[in-house]
């Protein structure tokens, strides 16, 4: 035989009732609440405190001061027609620029040693006999523009000569202008 405690609502049932009373279909729990002062008291106590919690939050939170500012045009459509088209145009311009850049730094003719490129070391010379390595060396030799190669060579010979370029690449820590 069930004791009186067993017949009362569990905490979970009370929480369910408080959270979803509008959605719950009539059940035996509803009948129990109507007839059981103990459970009814527990529900009401918790319900009252939750109501006070909401009331306090509303009372002690300010109302908005500023009015909302909405952009010109129609909702949704303004973004789709204006900014979407601008985005497509931007993508097209970026793609065109990318293609031009690739064309400019594309495969160049072989450089002769008189243009400032040091002859490859012996091991690399041996590798040139291998056609695959020859292609690798060709790509590496032409990876940088001549002016870059000239800078690296001059740095190796006299580090102080290109101090300005080095400072540009790696700014000193005291420079506060860099964000």
């Amino acid at each position: 035989m069930k004791s009186a405690a067993d017949m009362h609502l569990t905490d979970r049932r009370i929480f369910e009732f408080l959270s979803e009373r509008d959605r719950l279909p009539p059940t035996s729990e509803h009948d129990h609440l109507e007839n059981c002062n103990h459970c009814r008291g527990r529900v009401d106590a918790l319900d009252d405190d939750l109501r006070r919690l909401k009331q306090g939050a509303e009372r002690f939170a300010p109302a908005p001061d500023r009015t909302l500012r909405l952009p010109e045009g129609l909702p949704g459509k303004s973004r789709r027609s204006g900014r979407f088209q601008a985005w497509k145009a931007g993508l097209g311009i970026a793609a065109t620029f990318g293609i031009l850049l690739l064309a400019l730094i594309g495969i160049r003719p072989d450089r002769t040693p008189s243009m400032g490129v040091a002859p490859p070391p012996q091991a690399a010379v041996d590798d040139l006999e291998d056609p695959e390595m020859a292609e690798v060396h060709l790509l590496a030799r032409n990876a940088l523009p001549t002016s870059y190669l000239a800078i690296t060579e001059s740095i190796e010979q006299d580090p102080d000569e290109e101090e300005g370029f080095i400072d540009f690449l790696i700014p000193p820590l005291e420079d506060n202008s860099i964000s």
Partner: protein, 210 residues
């Protein structure tokens, strides 16, 4: 024993819900007036929802503006107008989360930046409380709330706030957070169990709020 009457929680009246759905459908089709009316209806609710989570009036103003701006720009993507409320609150939740992430990121670079200092001062300053007693009660209220919410895991805290501060139903909360209703209920009941045991807060509420 007289029956205690409590106002119906969560959902708006059926008439209001129907009107909101019609306005959302019109706004989705580019009706600016319909969107403006929706914004008027939800402005204060969204503002308070943000304020509960930031405790800063200036931040709440800025974030609320961002929320409605985003809603204005992307309402054409709302698939079901009857889900407008859940959709709007989801935008709001994401914006608040972004705000907290950026604030945390900034705090890594400076222990207390100027903006944050102002935010703390604004949050601690009681809002529109005319009487000195009210200002004290207001400060104590938020302290007690923070003490409760601070001990809840993130999901329990959010579900609890959406249900009992923001008045959303279980279905709307599941839309906002992208979780099943059973998951929402699990978190909600855990949070309620902790609220039930928060005797200090409950005593405070009983003594200071009618």
């Amino acid at each position: 024993m007289p029956e205690t009457h409590h106002p119906t929680p969560a959902s708006p009246t059926p008439d209001t819900a129907t009107e909101n759905t019609e306005l959302a459908a019109a706004a989705k089709n580019g009706n600016r007036y319909a969107f403006t009316r929706l914004a008027d209806r939800y402005h204060e609710r969204i503002f308070k929802m943000v304020f509960y989570r930031t405790r800063s009036r200036p931040d709440a103003e800025d974030i609320t503006q961002d929320i409605f701006l985003q809603a204005f720009r992307s309402i054409h993507r709302l698939k079901e107008p009857e889900r407008f409320e859940g959709w709007l609150y989801r935008i709001a939740m994401n914006r608040v989360t972004d705000h907290h992430r950026k604030k945390k990121f900034r705090s890594l670079f400076s222990p207390l930046m100027e903006n944050d200092r102002e935010d703390i001062e604004n949050a601690e300053r009681p809002h529109e409380a005319a009487e000195a007693v009210d200002r004290v009660v207001q400060a104590q209220f938020w302290e007690q709330i923070q003490a409760l919410l601070g001990q809840l895991p993130r999901m329990e805290k959010e579900v609890f706030m959406l249900r009992f501060f923001d008045d959303l139903g279980i279905k709307e909360i599941s839309q906002v957070l992208g979780k099943s209703e059973s998951t929402i209920k699990t978190h909600l009941y855990r949070a309620l169990a902790k609220f039930k045991e928060a005797s200090s807060l409950r005593e405070f509420l009983g003594e200071n709020l009618p």
